[in-house]
Symmetry: C2
Subunit: 171 residues, 2 copies
DNA sequence: GACGATACGGAACGCACGCCCCGGTTGGCA
DNA sequence: TGCCAACCGGGGCGTGCGTTCCGTATCGTC
């Protein structure tokens, strides 16, 4: 690969990282190209499609976060809650997390499996209500992550979900 | 107004009610026209814009729901929770509820005020955690309403939020 | 039954966006 | 330094959608 090509590829990746994090997947590709100081054609020389660029930016990062859920833990409740908190912290800063889950089937499946494992152990330990499924949790989190940029207090939203997971409702 | 015009206007409204409820605001206007057995131009003879048609379909219905929150109640906790449940029930059947809140500033303000009142009384009664603001609740509900059509169990999602509102998290 | 106003349908426009193509340029090897 | 292959920029195409325009059909009155 020629030197200028490698340089441009890196500039595109960096611009994409910034803009996807700020605006999510819906940012126009031309804006990424402009920010990178490059024409749209150049972006397509390095990435066959907008989705491919998005996945190049998000996939490894999010996959690593998901993989961190597989580490063995002592307290099943803390393990689940710490993971959910990590997701929320990430989403509070980077808008592309929830889009990544939506767009990449692999990430979605991985997250479903990871949350399923954490959830089951927490439920077996009696720390989390048993009527919640992994699918429920994935959907709930995705909704919350998306809501996180609309003026509410992210920490409060997370606390509501966490304590809601712990207990059934008082009569 | 001519008789056929009135008839067409009604056909458009009915098609819009069905399709907005099923797909939300993002349904193409041409589809509404087709379902109504009418050309797109005819839709625009009766409603100046797609938004106007959407508001004609949703505004009074949602405003009535919001107004029902103003009825005086004995138990502040039950009043708040019953209202949230009503929103969830409506959203489970009609996808346009959350879009209506997003699109119409009046509805958003109205909902904010209504929820603010219910929330404050429930908090004063000690039934709901005090770190939640009306904005938090609006955002949280909007996120949950949107999540409601993605494969999770709507009842479970609602229960998590309700019990999460009740209590702080156990240590 | 004829005529004018009203309404209709659908083709067409403007815009935004993902994606492709081509004339010109630049990098690196001989 | 010269040459060719690789690469670049940006104009352009196709598509989907909201919106508008206009020739035609229909309604309701005289």
């Amino acid at each position: 690969m020629r030197a200028d090509a490698a340089r441009n590829r890196e500039k595109v990746l960096e611009a994409a990282r910034e803009l996807f994090a700020e605006h999510g997947y819906e940012v126009p590709l031309d804006e990424i190209a402009t920010r990178a100081g490059v024409g749209p054609g150049t972006v397509y020389r390095h990435f066959p499609t907008k989705q491919a660029l998005f996945q190049a930016v998000t996939e490894t990062r999010v996959a690593a976060m998901i993989a961190s859920a597989a580490e063995p833990a002592e307290d099943p409740e803390q393990a689940l809650f710490a993971f959910l908190r990590r997701m929320a912290d990430e989403a509070a800063v980077k808008r592309d997390l929830s889009d990544a889950i939506t767009i990449s089937p692999d990430l979605r499946k991985g997250l479903h499996a990871a949350l399923g494992g954490l959830l089951q152990r927490a439920q077996e330990a009696g720390a989390v209500r048993t009527d919640v499924t992994a699918t429920d949790l994935v959907v709930l989190m995705k909704g919350m992550l998306q809501s996180m940029h609309e003026g509410a207090n992210p920490a409060v939203l997370l606390e509501i979900v966490l304590s809601g997971l712990q207990s059934s409702r008082k009569p």
